[in-house]
């Protein structure tokens, strides 16, 4: 099956060492595993049969960015057929969303925006945030936003509830919004938002209740009954791994092994991610 991975944090050795070292990685992501070289990320994509991966920046200013927008753009430039870059801005400190976005999209060639309200510590439903979404909609730039579980007690989990995205989706109906992790454990809230709004997608990245196969099987055939996934959500689910919190081949294998119709798995892995990227 053809695969596009919409959720990759390029926390590779070359980026982490340059971008503030392990201490910043730990502070922002609470991730304490040693970063791997870029070469092994590319090998993971090969091993998993992933054609393209979306690399996500994360602007946590004033603490720093990991990676920064320029870093993501540079990785994309080195591997243009393999990587797509999503930049990041922090709505807390954003003065001129239009100008900042122009710089990311026109200047750096980035194709979307990643936000994590918990780690970036901003209210995703504030008017400041809305001004960013308005510009994203105007420019036709997709938004991937963290929703759901955040293991670190340092971060505000209240910012990760998916239901509030319903009002954003209705206010900006042409803005493509991906709710990461399908909002787990508030999955039905995320499902409701996706079902009501044509412009909302759910990514299935990471695993929260066991191995990728255990979690995705539970998520997409039990918690959400198989018939609901197949009949209602097949156009709404998109693949993401959440590398390096999970290895990419394990996530792809888990989706391919699901007890779902083949056409649904193909949609999750490839056709729906294309829609998010505006390439359908």
């Amino acid at each position: 099956m053809r695969v596009i991975d919409l959720h990759v944090h390029p926390l590779v050795k070359e980026v982490v060492v340059k971008g503030g070292g392990l201490s910043l990685q730990e502070e922002l992501f609470e991730l304490r595993t040693a970063p791997q070289p870029l070469e092994t990320l590319l090998s993971q994509l090969d091993e998993a049969g992933v054609e393209r991966a979306v690399l996500l920046a994360l602007d946590c200013s004033p603490k720093g960015a990991l990676p920064g927008n320029e870093e993501v753009a540079s990785l994309v430039k080195k591997h243009p057929g393999r990587f797509v870059g999503f930049g990041s801005l922090n709505p807390r400190s954003l003065r001129d969303p239009a100008a900042s976005l122009r710089e990311l999209i026109d200047g750096l060639g980035l194709k979307g925006i990643k936000l994590n309200p918990a780690i970036q510590d901003f209210d995703p439903f504030s008017e400041n945030s809305m001004s960013l979404y308005r510009e994203l909609e105007r420019l036709g730039v997709p938004l991937l936003v963290h929703t759901g579980m955040c293991w670190s007690p340092k971060h505000r989990i209240g910012y990760c509830r998916p239901l509030g995205w319903d009002s954003v989706a209705r206010r900006f109906p042409k803005l493509r919004i991906v709710l990461a992790h399908a909002g787990w454990p508030w999955v039905w809230d995320a499902v409701v938002v996706a079902l009501r709004n044509e412009n909302v997608f759910l990514d299935v990245s990471n695993t929260f209740t066991g191995s990728p196969a255990e979690h995705l099987s539970y998520l997409l055939t039990e918690l959400i009954p198989r018939r609901v996934t197949e009949r209602f959500l097949y156009k709404k689910l998109v693949f993401g791994s959440d590398y390096p919190r999970i290895e990419i081949p394990k996530m792809v294998r888990a989706v391919e092994g699901l007890n779902l119709r083949e056409e649904v798995k193909e949609a999750i892995l490839y056709r729906n991610p294309l829609k998010v990227l505006g390439e359908d």
Partner: protein, 143 residues
Amino acid sequence: MKTRFREVKVVTKRERELVNITKEVKEFVKASGVREGLVLVFSKHTTTGVFINENEEGLEKDVVNYLNDIVKDEGDYYHHHYFYKDGRMAVNAWAHLRSILVGLSVAIPLRGGELQLGSRENIYLAEFDGPKERTVILAVMGE
């Protein structure tokens, strides 16, 4: 008695594969100048293995397939939970179990500066949860 130590980085390409590291070990022994003694090959990763066997392409596949068969990927593994120490899910019990079966080190006697390997014996690093950059320790002691 002389001792020498080297860390060798091995970047694996596949999730599960065998990497023949005999050449690296021989080069290390030669550079050490130790002629009579023992060389230890040790992996620093609990999802890898180190072993000696014949370097035959079919057998290399058989080893990987056999270990896949006897330790199943999916199972009711206690290990598969959130690992606060790492800040991520642990989802590779099967890789650890395969590592335990294979072992993490081999020791090879040296005589006249040569590894006393049989004509078909080669030294392998087994990757069970790649692709990753791995560190293998080579340590030699002797005269």
